[in-house]
């Protein structure tokens, strides 16, 4: 067995396309494993289904950060820091028994050519009666200290920089918006961004014994992360990562079940012949005329849109297809061979003949077909999602394409949104197809080129 595997592998190595295919599939598997480990199912679903409360710190419709590499005008990258997890430095000094003084400082290097969307502070304060007092200011690279907010901070106080009256009136005289005012060079009449180190300074005072101040600073740039964000500020990393295991599972389960069942049914039909065979053939012929996609759409519309229900329906509809006829043709040929008659003569049961004699002869023909039919199931899932029949719960590539389509991503220029899942779909298809074609050559000697 091991020797056979080794030989097969040595044979496969002769086809560079197979190596590329194997590498692609291997990387997809790694990605899938990483996705499942990094975002366990419940966490992924919570994140994906979550709204503003989960994703408030992300910008909307932000392309991935790496798009800056291809732009001459760099866009500001989104980020957020939090004093609760230590990314925002917090210094507490004790003033009196009931009073503490807080200082939060954060320096960031601003190198973009355009303005961010907004800057935002989310306070998370604890007090019983007396609100803490905070003072927020931003120091620009040329040393100007611009006061942003001064006043009491409630438990869930938000400070949106663009809505600070102080800032609006300060920059309105120069005909600039708040962001332009903060991030462009005040000495030039044209609006040119001022690059350099900006420092956010927040000082606060609490007036109660158990009072505390925590703050989260969100810099809403116009590009975000590795995958960008969608209309609900969700990080597209989640559907991109989670789409991998779902696509692989859907594809593998779909093609494996379909092919195995097809083969077993074809074997049974051609072995017993008679009415069994006729019945299978008639079912196949009827099924061949039934429209595949409309039936799935009906199942999705009237029954369930769960990905597994759809997969089951797709498998059932895919069993009785032309494949059953071609398998039957080969089985009819094998059935007449000497060793089958010998097996019958020495009293092998029908079950034994079908599963030990007929089907093993078919396995070599099955493997390439199996590999190359995986992409068709992966694409099926995506097609159904684009048709609006995607699983409403799961984050998948198809669902992402659907979202992008519905929100006019291509029309509005959010190409990343559509291209990322589409590219992954194509790569998956390519990987399996490349391996499948090579396996076909390995296992089907008639195709072997000398």
């Amino acid at each position: 067995m091991l020797k056979t595997l080794k030989n097969t592998f040595a044979e496969i190595k002769r086809y560079p396309s197979a190596i590329v295919g194997i590498i692609i599939i291997f990387l997809m598997i790694l990605l899938a494993v990483y996705a499942v480990i990094a975002y366990p199912y419940t966490k992924a679903i919570t994140l994906w289904r979550g709204g503003e409360d989960v994703w408030y710190m992300n910008p909307k419709y932000a392309p991935p950060a790496w798009t800056n590499w291809f732009k001459t005008e760099k866009e500001p990258v989104s980020f957020h820091v939090d004093s609760a997890d230590g990314t925002l430095k917090k210094v507490v000094t004790n003033i009196s028994a009931d009073s503490n003084s807080y200082t939060f400082t954060y320096s960031f290097n601003f190198q973009a050519d355009s303005d961010p969307q907004d800057l935002m502070l989310y306070f998370d304060n604890t007090y019983t009666a007396k609100q803490p007092f905070v003072n927020v200011s931003l120091v620009t690279p040329d040393g100007t200290n611009i006061s942003v907010y001064q006043g009491g901070a409630s438990a869930q106080q938000n400070v949106r920089f663009t809505q600070q009256q102080k800032l609006i009136s300060r920059f309105a005289s120069k005909n600039r918006t708040v962001m332009q005012g903060l991030f462009s060079d005040p000495k030039q009449t044209a609006i040119v961004s001022k690059k350099g180190i900006y420092q956010l300074i927040i000082t606060g005072t609490t007036f109660e014994k158990d009072s505390d101040i925590n703050v989260q600073f969100v810099f809403f740039g116009t590009v975000y992360g590795i995958a960008g964000t969608d209309m609900n500020r969700r990080d597209l990393m989640i559907p991109i990562l989670w789409g991998t295991p779902i696509a692989l599972a859907f594809g593998l389960v779909g093609s494996l079940c379909t092919l195995l069942l097809t083969m077993i049914i074809a074997a049974i039909g051609s072995w017993y012949g008679g009415w069994v065979d006729s019945l299978i053939q008639r079912i196949t012929e009827v099924n061949l005329v039934l429209p595949f996609l409309p039936i799935l759409i009906m199942v999705g519309t009237f029954f369930s849109r769960s990905i597994w229900v759809i997969l089951g329906a797709a498998i059932l509809l895919s069993i009785f297809t032309g494949q059953i006829k071609s398998y039957r043709a080969i089985f009819l040929q094998i059935r007449e061979s000497g060793y089958i008659e010998a097996a019958k003569a020495y009293g092998a049961s029908d079950f034994r003949i079908i599963f030990k004699y007929l089907i093993p002869r078919m396995i070599p023909l099955l493997i390439p077909g199996l590999v190359s039919s995986v992409p068709s199931f992966v694409f099926l899932e995506a097609s159904l999602a684009v048709l609006g029949l995607g699983d409403p719960v799961l984050p998948t590539w198809g669902k992402t394409i659907d979202d992008a389509f519905v929100h006019g991503a291509l029309y509005k220029g959010y190409y990343y949104w559509m291209v990322e899942p589409a590219l992954l779909l194509m790569i998956t298809g390519l990987g399996f197809a490349m391996l499948g074609f090579a396996l076909d050559r390995v296992f089907n000697p008639k195709l072997r080129e000398m």
Binding site: K344, A345, Y346, G347, A348, S349, K356
Partner: protein, 318 residues
């Protein structure tokens, strides 16, 4: 047991349905075979020899029209068995078979050791390990080196594959083995070898054989009795010694005359004409158109004449 023969075939008929009409491949065949005896069935191609073995082992194709008669194996009427009973109680238990073109009767994707073990696993309820021991023993019987257990059929020569097929027939130690042309397509040395193996098995294990062959000369090595088939009928059943000395039926005489001889000037003869079509059989004796002794009475169907333990289907002996 002794009063009942090992195998008794009575009025066995096997007709196939074709577009041209019914093919009467086996037409009212009667014979019996004792323990530890070998009967050689000879005859031209297409005279129903292989169909006879198929009828006895009930390995029927799909286009069977008529399948009647009685087959007693060790006194039991196996024709009344259901398909499942037949499979479990007769095939390879009571009698086994080395199929025609035994080289193709080995599954190309299973190792030969495993293949030979299959009947034992199916019928004897042994474990895989016991089966392998059994296979080793059988390989010794037929003279196949033990290392071949782990080889695939394509790695074996024709003669070795033939021996493996015989080992497969032996593995459940049945009393009767049907060999359908076991030595066709083998060279003379290998043929002689195989026949030595068969002779030894017969002597050591007391097995009976039904041997289907074209090769009258080689089969004389093993035969206790000779049966001659012509156009679906058994035209002669004779003691081997008597048969080779003096065949009775004109067809048998012609058949024997067609065997080339050493040390005589006599040219091998051939029989003019073709055997009749099994679809459209002539009335009366089926051999009469080619028979040099044909006379008026041959227009009627000849009876089976039993004389001194020899049976012959010819008016000459009436």
């Amino acid at each position: 047991m002794a009063d009942k023969p090992l195998l008794q075939v009575e009025d066995l008929c096997l007709y196939f349905r074709t577009t041209h009409g019914n093919v009467r491949a086996v037409d009212h065949v009667n014979f019996s075979l004792d323990y530890n005896k070998a009967v050689v069935v000879v005859g031209e191609s297409g005279c129903g020899k292989s169909s006879l073995t198929k009828a006895i082992l009930r390995l029927l194709p799909r286009n069977v029209d008529t399948y009647t008669g009685k087959v007693y194996l060790e006194g039991k009427d196996v024709m009344t068995y259901s398909e499942e009973d037949f499979r479990l109680k007769v095939r390879w238990v009571g009698m086994s078979m080395v199929p025609q073109a035994a080289m193709n009767s080995l599954n190309p994707v299973i190792k030969v050791g495993e293949q030979v073990a299959e009947p034992a696993l199916i019928h004897m309820g042994v474990t895989k390990k016991e089966a392998v021991d059994l296979v080793r023993k059988m390989f010794q019987h037929v003279g196949v080196p033990e290392v071949f257990i782990d080889r695939y059929p394509f790695e074996l020569s024709g003669g070795m594959r033939q021996r493996v097929a015989i080992a497969m027939a032996l593995v459940t130690s049945p009393n009767l083995i049907i060999l359908d042309e076991p030595t066709s397509a083998l060279d003379v040395l290998t043929q002689a070898n195989i026949f030595n193996v068969l002779k030894r098995i017969k002597k050591e294990l007391g097995t009976s054989f039904i041997l289907i062959t074209h090769d009258i000369a080689t089969s004389s090595e093993l035969a206790d009795e000779v049966a001659v088939m012509y156009a679906g009928q058994m035209v002669e059943l004779n003691d081997a010694f008597a048969f080779f000395k003096e065949p009775l039926h004109p067809y048998s005489k012609k058949l024997m005359a067609s065997v080339p001889r050493l040390r005589t000037e006599k040219e091998p003869e051939f029989i003019i004409g073709q055997p009749p079509s099994l679809v459209d059989l002539p009335a009366g004796c089926r051999f009469k158109d080619r028979c040099p002794f044909a006379f008026d009475r041959c227009k009627q169907d000849p009876p089976v004449i039993v004389k001194e333990g020899r049976s012959v289907r010819c008016w000459l002996y009436a």
